[in-house]
């Protein structure tokens, strides 16, 4: 699937021809999902016309705060990630796993849910989310018991990355090594410059789509401009984690006073884990039909900040916020190394922005791991 960077085509697509990309994808059978403005945020929803994309919009983000505003540049991707992107498309917030029905003799029949995964092309995927996708793949798809619903949706996915040039104040993908340049894991990648887009193919399927677009050879100047903007974006990042492997330090400091201090501020509200593109926890429930003849067994997003998450026979292991916050951070930045060979944080900064009280994972981690 991966093609070496050095042999990748880099073509130029004029701004006015972005619609062609949507049209070619639609003709190829994909439903296009892309960034759109809804309720004051950039969200990923179906798009059919390029004009629906967030042209002339940029964002400002800080702990517990997100705002959109007009951007004089008039570009399409002059913003950093909003609250959600790929995760809900693959790891559904709520979905049925199986049904059980009872016939007239009282016999039970168990019927697995069928996932009808439509081919979806997602436009505007950022480097941090591609890194997160690799982790979600490792968890749901590549383990000993692959998740069929996730796998079906994953197989039907076509990914159009956009290299980031406008990191938010909350982004820290440079320090985790995951961005802002999308290195791999995409079918196509775009670099936006004033007059249009540089387009690279990252897969055979991406190459097929690229050849159908009205592109010309990109000039050296265009390539240098694009690379310069990505580098400037990387240099503009204001936050960082104090290291990429904090496992031992965190597990040595389970009694650090900061856990209690952050628990005084934390709402235990689950916003951080819900927006985190790598968090994968869910709970399972049953929804019996009123007459009792049939029942759906479904799962929905859970979080280590709920009491149900650590509930085992008769009580919750993590009753208080101190224990829940510690679970979140030590698993994300510690336990993941054992499970998936790297930290579970890709530096997207969402948990900082979308925390209603602005708790900052980089700040908490520094406080706990200092000296």
């Amino acid at each position: 699937m991966d093609i070496d960077v050095s042999v990748r085509e880099s073509r130029f697509l004029p701004s006015a021809d972005l619609q062609n990309l949507l049209d070619v994808l639609t003709e190829a059978g994909y439903e296009c999902i892309g960034p759109r403005v809804r309720d004051g945020a950039i969200v990923y929803e179906p798009v059919t016309r390029a004009a629906e994309l967030p042209y002339g919009i940029t964002d400002s983000q800080g702990p517990g705060e997100y705002r959109l505003r007009a951007d004089a540049g008039g570009r399409c991707f002059a913003w950093a990630n909003g609250p959600q992107a790929l995760k809900p498309l693959l790891f559904a917030p709520q979905e049925s796993l199986w049904m059980v029905s009872r016939d007239a003799q009282g016999r039970l029949a168990f019927i697995p849910a069928q996932t009808l995964a439509r081919p979806i092309a997602v436009l505007g995927v950022r480097a941090c989310d591609l890194a997160a996708l690799r982790l979600q793949d490792a968890h749901f798809r590549d383990g000993p018991r692959p998740d069929p619903a996730y796998g079906a949706r994953r197989d039907a996915l076509f990914l159009i990355a956009v290299h980031c040039t406008h990191p938010a104040a909350t982004c820290f993908c440079v320090s985790t090594g995951d961005g802002p340049h999308a290195d791999s894991g995409y079918d196509l990648a775009l670099s936006e410059i004033d007059e249009g887009f540089l387009v690279e193919a990252g897969s055979v399927a991406g190459g097929v789509i690229l050849r159908r677009l009205p592109t010309v050879e990109a000039t050296t100047r265009q390539r240098e401009t694009a690379a310069g903007e990505i580098e400037a974006g990387a240099r503009a990042q204001q936050r960082a984690l104090p290291g990429t492997d904090l496992r031992d330090t965190l597990f040595e400091r389970l009694e650090h006073p900061r856990w209690e201090e952050v628990a005084q501020r934390c709402l235990s509200c689950t916003n951080c884990t819900s927006v985190c593109p790598t968090c994968f926890c869910y709970s399972e429930h049953d929804a019996p039909r009123l007459d009792g003849g049939e029942s759906a067994h479904y799962r929905q997003w859970d979080s280590c900040f709920t009491i149900g998450h650590s509930y085992i026979h008769g009580g919750a292991v993590r009753g208080g916020t101190r224990e829940r916050y510690r679970q979140w951070l030590t698993h994300k930045l510690g336990g993941w190394h054992d499970q998936y060979g790297r930290s579970g944080c890709v530096g997207c900064g969402r948990c900082i922005t979308w925390c209603p009280v602005g708790i900052d994972i980089t700040e908490e981690t520094r406080a706990i791991c200092a000296d």
């Binding site: 945020a41 517990g64 709402l267 916003n271 929804a287």
Partner: protein, 277 residues
């Protein structure tokens, strides 16, 4: 997740076609509408249980002995004080339905200031005819409650889930998440982060499906306090968003002011007292 008794009385589990009553106390009738709005499910329900008393639906037998009694409303009059005790004695499993029954409702605001008599004089033409208690209190203040369904109003999904579980002879699964988790599952954009609107979702029990945030407005805590609700941290955030102490107090005291966590938080908010952490 505190332990609750199983849905049976001392004389064994609910079997056969259970008898049901829906009782009303001081309330707006909105929670009973959760039954009446069930549509086809109400017909199914009528086939599964024997509804003995449900005045709003036309069945009247308030003294009926039943397996399951749903109780809407709070206790605000001497007559209600007596009636809830009779109902408890004639019911095997008692479900308190909605904010009035679980926390005393909006009308429990009168518990906070001792102005019941003044308010009556201000509102009613002939207050002398009114026989009322000084307080509005939850059903559990008076009798043993086997299950509480929170919400103002409760919705059909909760009610049906409870009935179905009781018919199976098990306790209904209890909500324990916060509205924020439902809000994110629904992919609503957070009104507090994206628009600076004070929202009660982070301290409020789930069950509504984040109805308000899905329509772009803030949660007003109608499902009552969630477990492990950090009202102090939210109180500080509300103040940070510019909400004056009095307004923040109203947020906590609006619908579920009788719930201890919100009662206390509202008092602290009114005193501007969240700063000490």
């Amino acid at each position: 997740m505190d332990a609750k008794p199983l849905p049976k009385s001392d004389d064994g589990p609910v079997t056969g076609r259970p008898t049901v009553a829906v009782h009303k106390f001081t309330s707006c009738d909105g929670c009973q509408l959760a039954f009446l709005n069930l549509g086809d499910d109400l017909l199914t329900l009528a086939g599964l249980v024997d509804i003995r008393h449900f005045a709003e639906a036309g069945m009247v037998d308030p003294e009926a002995q039943v397996d399951i009694a749903f109780v809407e409303g709070s206790i605000t009059t001497p007559d209600e004080y007596e009636r809830i005790r009779r109902i408890r004695a004639s019911s095997r499993f008692l479900v308190a339905l909605g904010a009035c029954a679980t926390a005393g409702g909006l009308q429990a605001l009168r518990n906070l200031n001792g102005l019941t008599q003044e308010w009556m004089a201000g509102i009613y033409a002939t207050p002398a005819y009114i026989r009322t208690l000084e307080t509005s209190t939850a059903i559990s203040t008076h009798v043993k409650v086997d299950l509480e369904l929170w919400g103002c109003p409760v919705n059909g999904r909760q009610v049906l889930g409870a009935v179905r579980a009781l018919l199976f002879g098990v306790l209904p699964e209890r909500e324990h998440d916060k509205v924020c988790l439902e809000c994110k599952r629904e992919r609503a954009v957070c009104v507090m982060v994206a628009r600076g609107i004070p929202c009660m979702g982070p301290v409020t029990l789930s069950g509504c499906g984040a109805l308000c945030p899905r329509f772009g407005r803030d949660c007003y805590a109608c499902y009552g306090p969630a477990e492990n609700a950090n009202t102090a941290a939210l109180g500080r955030r509300l103040a940070g968003l510019g909400l004056p102490p009095e307004a923040a107090a109203h947020r906590f005291h609006f619908i579920n002011n009788g719930a201890p966590a919100f009662l206390e938080a509202g008092r602290r908010a009114a005193e501007g007292g969240f700063d000490d952490g």
